[in-house]
């Protein structure tokens, strides 16, 4: 029953920390599209002009 006890210990650990992390997630790291991809997306979207707007500025390093 030792394995079962370990599993139960793990389950007992599903408490505030795990739940709150899931309910208050940090923003996922994003991958920005380049202009050609956006143009393709606009074609797919059939005229979503906003998706063709210039990329959001990224912070400069240094």
């Amino acid at each position: 029953m030792q394995t079962e006890d370990k599993v139960l210990d793990k389950l007992a650990g599903v408490r505030s920390a795990d739940i709150e992390a899931a309910l208050d997630p940090a923003e996922a790291d994003g991958v920005f599209r380049d202009s050609r991809e956006c143009a393709g997306l606009a074609l797919f979207a059939g005229g979503g002009k906003l998706l063709l707007s210039p990329p959001t500025p990224r912070p400069k390093k240094g």
Partner: protein, 230 residues
């Protein structure tokens, strides 16, 4: 970052539950979304219900069908088992409040008392990026005809949410895009140039295999169909 075993278990349970909600929204049969009784629902399942929040009752809410008493008991147990701590983040507090509201609506004759609405001060003056992220996390609040503080805050910043939707698509953050898109189906004054409908189709194409993305998209589809405005 390495995830704990419990975190992985929990995420898997949340994904399974989200899949059940999606199936129920598509089929109209919501009787088997939640376990059939509190005896059957283990800790991980209860925690998953708490994480999915009010959306665990979404099929009954949107399709206006009477709740399954056994599933409702599981939902209530999750609400009572995981109240927010006093210093919990606003999204944690609002998520719990949304569950309490859903429970109260589904079972108005029950003994469960609705807690007071949390504040919205953390959204005052929030950047459009942060606002969109927070709204996407709180997408279960995006329901027709509601008048809570978060919904009012969203309604005052439709264009910012639209900008956030575009940003999320371009960052390939499909969960955020789907959550923001669900809000936009309800908000007044969405720019036509956004191409929301096509944008949501694109999100489905790219990220729809994630049940949590699919859930928001299915909710958005139903909300758009009903044409409900905030």
């Amino acid at each position: 970052m390495e995830q704990s075993g419990t975190s992985t278990l929990l995420q898997g349970a949340v994904q399974d539950l989200a899949s059940s909600v999606v199936s129920a929204l598509r089929s109209g049969d919501h009787t088997h979304v939640l376990p059939a009784g509190t005896e059957e629902a283990g800790d991980v399942t209860l925690a998953a219900v708490r994480v999915l929040g009010a959306d665990a009752l979404l099929p009954g809410t949107l399709l206006r069908t009477p709740p399954d008493p056994a599933g409702l008991a599981v939902f209530r147990k999750a609400v009572e088992a995981y109240p927010p701590r006093a210093d919990a983040a606003p999204t944690v507090r609002w998520s719990h409040w949304a569950m309490a509201r859903a429970l109260h609506r589904a079972d108005p004759s029950g003994t469960f008392e609705r807690p007071d609405e949390p504040g919205t001060g953390w959204l005052d003056g929030a950047s459009w990026q942060f606002l969109t992220h927070q709204l996407a996390v709180l997408a279960p609040l995006a329901l027709p005809g509601e008048d809570d503080g978060v919904t009012r805050a969203a309604g005052r910043r439709t264009v910012d949410v639209a900008r956030g939707f575009v940003r999320a698509v371009r960052r390939r953050d499909w969960r955020q895009a789907a959550g923001a898109g669900r809000w936009l189906t309800l908000l007044p004054g969405v720019p036509e140039t956004l191409g929301l409908r096509a944008g949501l189709e694109f999100v489905e194409l790219m990220g729809g295999q994630d049940p949590q993305v699919a859930l928001q998209l299915e909710a958005a589809r139903l909300l758009a169909r009903t044409g409900a405005l905030v």
